[in-house]
Symmetry: C2
Subunit: 135 residues, 2 copies
């Protein structure tokens, strides 16, 4: 697998509080999102917090997908880090936003990967696309 990767960084607000606070539902959503991204699940870790909030991480054959939720704010932070040209992380991002009933989303994509020579420009962490807002 080439180290050249894309990393989607997403903020979702106005989400359904009950979904953001359901460990079972968050697990279902992120595991399904991995399938939609055409990636492979290796490990899943879900953590519930008191009084509220869930963290979910899926270790992929292609890197990872993570979500952290703040139900009291209707907010979730999502990362989809996927190496390989066949991965479709944008599809996973859209699916998660829909499942959470996100009212607003800010999504950016950065390039990750090996640092050397002509590839160096891909390590400046500049965003591939302008931030998008709204659904």
């Amino acid at each position: 697998m080439e180290p050249q990767s894309r990393h989607i960084i997403a903020e979702f607000s106005g989400c359904s509080e009950d979904i953001l606070n359901s460990a079972d539902r968050i697990r279902e959503i992120i595991v399904r999102a991995v399938v939609i991204a055409e990636c492979e699940v290796k490990k899943v870790a879900i953590q519930s917090y008191k009084p509220q909030g869930i963290s979910g991480v899926v270790v992929l054959a292609e890197s990872h997908l993570s979500i952290h939720t703040w139900p009291e704010n209707g907010y979730a932070a999502v990362d989809i880090f996927a190496c390989g040209s066949s991965a479709k992380p944008e599809k996973a991002c859209d699916y998660i936003a829909q499942c959470l009933n996100a009212g607003e989303k800010y999504v950016s994509v950065i390039h990750r990967g090996e640092i050397k020579g002509e590839k160096e420009n891909s390590f400046k962490h500049s965003f591939e696309t302008p931030v998008t807002s709204g659904l």
Copy 2:
């Protein structure tokens, strides 16, 4: 816990191949890095790949720390996503770079968190600091 968070995005090249391919060593490094960041470990997931490469993720009380390694390239991608004002993610990033004997590093910090009103500017995913290179 407030949703306002900092997310360190790091690329390390020129790292020691043997360390990048040791699941036990990567586990030790990332768990220790969490302690150095003054964060709390909730769950740890380590995945080894064939023919080489390791993914390691620590779910934190404050979000997550992840590493993905490409030993054949001497490269590792590290993310430290930490909410709360007491976290010291930069310390964890420096510790990991040192443990991997990274020859080059590119490190950026972005703000994550709730989307609304006056906080909106913190969701443009602009980097808090310019990319730094070298150790």
